[in-house]
Amino acid sequence: MPQSSPSQHVALASARTVKEEKIYRTFGLTDAEYEHIVELLGREPNYVEAGIFSVMWSEHCSYKSSRKVLRRFPTRGPQVLQGPGENAGIVDIGDGMAVAFKIESHNHPTAIEPYQGAATGVGGIIRDVFTMGARPIALLNSLRFGELDDAHTRYLFAESVAGIGGYGNCIGIPTVGGEVVFDNRYQHNPLVNAMCVGLMTHEEIATGSASGVGNPVLIVGTRTGRDGIHGATFASAEDPHAKERSAVQVGDPFMEKLLLEACLELIATGKVVGIQDMGAAGLTSSSAEMASRAGSGLTIDVTLVPCRETEMNSYEIMLSESQERMLVVMQQGEEDLAKQIFEKWDLQATVIGRVTTDGMLRVLEKGIVAAEIPVSALVDEAPVLDRLALRPAYLDELDENGPLFVESEDFAEQLYALLARPTIASKEWVYDQYDSMVRTETFVRPGSDAAVVGIPGTQKAIAIVTDGNGRHVYLDPYTGGVRAVAEAARNIVCSGAQPLAVTDCLNYGNPEKPEIFYQLERSADGLSVACEAFKTPVISGNVSLYNESHGVDIYPTPVIGMVGLLEDRDQLITSDWKADGDEIYVLGDLERAQKAGLGGSEYLFVKQPEQALHYRLPEFDLKAEVALQACMLSLAKQGLVQSAHDVSDGGLLVALAESAIAGNLGANIHLDAVSGVERSLQYREVLSLMFGEGVGLIVITAKVGMTEALERAARAHEVPIRRIGNVSVSPVVRVSILDRLYIHAPIERLQVAWRGAIASWMRR
């Protein structure tokens, strides 16, 4: 391949036009950023260079708004084998095994072209994981849409789900869990966050580093086309609807399956120096990031890149976001090995350049230098912004006390209404479209607190969850952040697993608005404090900003992906009630639950949708939550528990109903004397107890005769425990306080409300 020489001057012909016609502005670069580039290069950038800078310095690639905030996260721990900065984080699970995982957003493409937007989100996150040398074993998705009474929302929802299924089902990685939330704040700006978990041995860990002068650089996978050019800048723009559909990529899961198998086979040879997925900003970011990690340079000849369209120029090739491609640095002389393996899988592996020592990203086109930029200028010198943060006025206008409701006699009807809320209702309509069982290691399928997947050849399993509540974070960014981590961890311990680490997807509105930036900063503080408290460092993640449409910003929505380890799969706990007569207990402070109120609850949104955002979120006791979860884990390890289910969206009654439906068993429940004094509760207290979401609670069941052992364990952890009733074979859930029967709900009615809700919307 041609080597550049100093005599070959950089093609400056187009540089004048870039400057004079301010073409860089159309790439998304500001005047100040352009001036900085000129300073760094010591000359004007040409067209290709300006394009390369614009994608590398885009919000999507540079994290320029969020970078300082991200530094607050705890990222270390004895279990962490690879923290943030690589394609995915890795944690140790013992016995020489490790899991790699990451979550990533694909919000903007989904708003425009939901099927492909969601599908390529899945494809991208899978590549991030197998790039590390891990075999992907599970997928999860965290989705946000508007309310289903809108036809366009139903279209976005149906197509996104189909796209996620279409990709994951074909490639043969089970989609085991996730969450879907419906709220009109997301109507024009849906969120699609995809998480992938992969399994590997410690020896198999690969990284994205381009070291070793003279080592060959290969592009592998599909040919490069003109799709997705400027996808990264587009993902950072305020209103993606104004942009063209051509910036959305199209996925090919079959191709990715071939790429996955070929890459894992290649990594197993031990001859790979570095490997990196080509995601946002394609060849540009993959080459710059690989060189940056190694402190090296790369020379790439775009003429050698296999293209699927004719006459593609260096600008297009460098910025293409064609899917299912990887950049690989092999040991010198091992090029043919790569070619052989890729040929077996009917794929191409083509040498397109070499590693150099001069720290330059150099792009050649037909022997001429088309671009020559110091890697450090692209990566280290990328702008880091100090965005202004201002506490939003609405936070100081929230009402401390919840609303006063007129007493309603019919609690069962209120419960049915809550169960039929799409956010709470069964998501079967969604996950029945996903293959959740392929690989035959899925012990807990979607729909439970956490998904549980076995580690083949061992007694171990991992529990995985995604969790986030944008409303809570909106009402109280700090506490909302704490709660997001706490809820994720609570889901993990409810399955009997020990939380290990976190990957986070930070979805926010326009960071140029100081109130939005405040939400980001304060919630990140909350996330950090909680991650410290639960000893779950952040090992990977993604930031998605500018989630606003028609001037409306989404709720600040940090989504927590968490993985936990279950040492013995036989100690797995599920949320369904198991047997007639089992005793039902609540772990956690019911007395507080009765006082905490309804702030931020789904109940408020059912009863008073207009006013629901006017009431404060209850305080959150992090210390009590840590104790609660430690207690739950110890009960699980002692084998004292038959079922466990955490109380979250909808509150205590919804949690009880869900366990009843799952186990097809009824219950007799008495919530008397919660306050310790035998008195009838005020209506406000009853509502708070039954529908509030303020306090961390876990509903557990145990066989008869366990009371003493349970109480002893709870005392040791200083966690309140209260027996509230029994599981019953009679198919009715009864809930009373003193002599008043509040709920008499046949399971069949609960089922109909809960199971049919989303499907009935989607038939419209």
């Binding site: 089902n169 043969g172 009917d346 479209q433 959740s436 069982m437 392929v438 012990f443």
Partner: protein, 230 residues
Amino acid sequence: MKCAVIQFPGSNCDVDALKAIEETTSQPVDLVWHTARDLSSYDLIVVPGGFSYGDYLRAGAIAKFAPAMKEVEKAAADGRFVLGICNGFQVLTESGLLEGALRRNDSLQFRCEMTELVVANHHTAFTRHYAVGERIVIPIAHGEGNYYADEQTLKKLKKHGQIVFRYAKEHNPNGSVDDIAGIVNERGNVLGMMPHPERAIHSRLGSADGRRLFTSILEVWGETHAAIQS
């Protein structure tokens, strides 16, 4: 009993099938690449689930041209056992080894769920460890599992007892004619079914009802094998 599981580039239930056979029968199993040209030594060949070549044209339509499928045809003609699961069933109908065709689910959506099946014929090599009329739980995971055969073919299938599994009444998940979930060829040595028995071999996976399919094959093979030797 020597077993082979064919791997097309887009197969994704190949390893699951291998694990299930090993676990339920303790017999040796090989994964064989779709370009294989000699599979004459295998007593059982499994065409597994997945998306053989991406299934972009029609599920299984490209796979029938694979060299390994010639070997599957020979195995079928020799009276050796062939088991097509999910995409494998689609490949077997596309190849003409089994009658009928599999269309898109009537819901037009992919479906993954536990399904209740009724054993329609237990006098086959694949089902002798079940009872006729027995209800078993086996999961499905497919977008194109809507079995179709014309009246005449259906009559023939019924006449020769070729319908082996039906979805339980009122629980037909895909619109299959006559609730058909799995059929055998007339000779009875080739079974195609949309549900995944290899995913139902442990209670922790939700069901262990798939085990007996594999143990049935082993027992029948053992008997014929012993007969040949004696």
